[in-house]
Symmetry: C2
Subunit: 450 residues, 2 copies
Amino acid sequence: MKRVVIAGAGFAGLNAAKRLSRVRDVQVTLIDRENHHLFQPLLYQVAMAGLSPADIATPIRSLFTHAPNVRVLKEQALRVNLERACLITDHAEHAYDYLLLACGAQHAYFGHEEWEPYAPGLKNLSQATEIRRRVLEAFEAAEREPVPEQRRRYLTFVVVGGGPTGVELAGAIGEMSRYTLARDFRTIDPRQTRVMLIEAAPRILMGFDEDLAARAMRDLESLGVQVWTHARVTNISEEGVCVGTEDIAASTVLWAAGVRASPIAATLGVPLDKAGRVIVEPDFTIPGHREVFVAGDLAFAKDESGAPLPGIGAVAVQQGRFVGSAVLADLANRPRPTFHYHDKGQMATIGRARAIAEIYGHKLEGRFAWWMWLLVHIYFLSGFRNRLSVLVQWGWSYFTFGRGARLIVPKEWRAYDGGATTLAATQPPQSVQASPPLHSASVAGGEPVP
Amino acid sequence: MKRVVIAGAGFAGLNAAKRLSRVRDVQVTLIDRENHHLFQPLLYQVAMAGLSPADIATPIRSLFTHAPNVRVLKEQALRVNLERACLITDHAEHAYDYLLLACGAQHAYFGHEEWEPYAPGLKNLSQATEIRRRVLEAFEAAEREPVPEQRRRYLTFVVVGGGPTGVELAGAIGEMSRYTLARDFRTIDPRQTRVMLIEAAPRILMGFDEDLAARAMRDLESLGVQVWTHARVTNISEEGVCVGTEDIAASTVLWAAGVRASPIAATLGVPLDKAGRVIVEPDFTIPGHREVFVAGDLAFAKDESGAPLPGIGAVAVQQGRFVGSAVLADLANRPRPTFHYHDKGQMATIGRARAIAEIYGHKLEGRFAWWMWLLVHIYFLSGFRNRLSVLVQWGWSYFTFGRGARLIVPKEWRAYDGGATTLAATQPPQSVQASPPLHSASVAGGEPVP
């Protein structure tokens, strides 16, 4: 009985486990710190109140109900001990015959971690609901704010980073303010919302064809998004963002500029690239350890032509399946297969009915690309129920410009509010800050291309 | 132009605002500390992972898009100043010609507020997602727990209070463990879950007919729920619950035993009942102030026969409409109407296909009552989109025994986890407690009938 331990139930880990499920003589332990697999490509929709968290997340256990050889544990992987061949989590040690590390990436602030409280990134559901809370709260605060200057600050949204996530966030805020919220306020006009997309590189969407990126930029501008390229963020504080030497007063800043591999990569003691990813062999193992695989956003790998594989879901899916097959080959005493990356293309969506796509080398844009985007994403959502629920909600949003999940759920569980403080208060507070206490960083820095 | 200020967008406040929307010469300000109206009767479904928060909540603004005389503000009402005729919130003061206070109730621990961290109640969405997190985390913790005694503690769930909410929670946990989760774990058998419902009174569902309550009790027992009546909780701590002198080791305790009016009631300086509710006149005004109304769970009112009106949604809806009509009557110089409570009945559901109902005096039970319950609740859910989404999810759950929203979203927004502590850790922690730090209350008390 071979023990296969998989850390991380993202696209890579999940697909490896699926390939190995119901295989005789293999015992799979799938470990994740969350109880759900997350469909990351739609995470921005949760942040933008288009979908509910449960629509893009599936309980990991429920995917392996019929695979008795797969055990799912909600633990956080901390370190690998290569000599003793075990993975150490926050609850236990798991000895393995084969190990797959697929713990993904988190956002990086390029040495300015102090910016994080003011500019959350988007990697998990808590962050998505936090971003949703901040964006919707900003409109609420503007509605009750008597001082025009403060009101403008509440209605200014800055997205840092012009990759697909940044473009999708900025487009969604632009659309939400122009269509969804337009008639719901009495004091403010949400259409006067200022949305800015800040990118350090010469253009947005560097990973895409130049013509498509230009089209995406025009689409963003038609939603009222101001796109600044060649623009370096030098500071982020409670007051807003400093770009170069220019201060932008903004109550809501979102971070979509660059990621960093999970710190578990460093515990392997093998060479990492500058983003902290493990530089893997062509079969995704680490040097000298044919039993230890690294895949997904945690790995730095190249395709046959020597070009680095991009950090996208399709790559992780194919790597995960490959790792499963490699283990099966070993068990059957066959040589391991060779990995071929099957590049289907990439897409990004901008607002309600616009997208750009490169599919098998074909360039698509506008409404047709958006329908493609919709079909592809619904198809790949795991689990039938989610697909149906998402279809219902998108259909509804498309025809009504509504946003079903426009819900602010408070950051912390509201404990029993005894009422004593409430009754004791004699004066209403003067004004309230949605952001954390003042404590900002100064000057310096600038972020590389995401 | 008459200024009508409404505090609270629950069933009472919302219906009063609707009655007054698009009325010439009336300016309505609707104030709530949340941005959404909550369909409370289905809150337990969110706690039990059957529905998503957005399914039972509607943004208040979106309900008044086409009513330009209604302004919605997300502020928390703190106090009323009757002399100056203004409502004081955490952000501003609002002068009124008419005031409706409808801020509802919260749960009460009968002098044992120190129990609250160990036994959350169910009144808002944050509490519902917190309860969901605790219940699902308990199964996860049991799955990785090597010590049998600890595992039993994780798999013991105690619900305190045998009213409709307590019955629905206990039934849902019983059903979830027996059907939904049954095949998803490898170490534990979720069917060995112990669910207890503790009630101080001689029987559960005191508000219902005795035969129906007996049927509900049999239905609960068929789902494996142990019902203890005549049982007084004397202590709740991290370890579990003390009933009389008997200790029950349980990691998850839920509180459904009694409510208390919002503390704003006390700022009026008029007589309150022992649950802190305002004792109102037959037209729901307070003594000596025909311009100040109190309705919903914040009011203690009687019907024509002198019997107290129950604290349920139907009463609040009718009161809210009445208050709107009373204001309209004043404006038209007509005498105010007389309130007649139209009692349609009450229902409670137990698990997947069982319910009890009293409708216009008819007693219903079993599967037929459950279908009635389903129809009634879907009909009353505000907003078409939610109705459709809920239908899809319930349809799916009914035929698959699944639970769509089986999602643990961490309690707090996960900030940038720098990795330093992770890398520094040399030993995995021995075991982890899902509950807050040890700090429990001792002895005494016992709770009245909810």
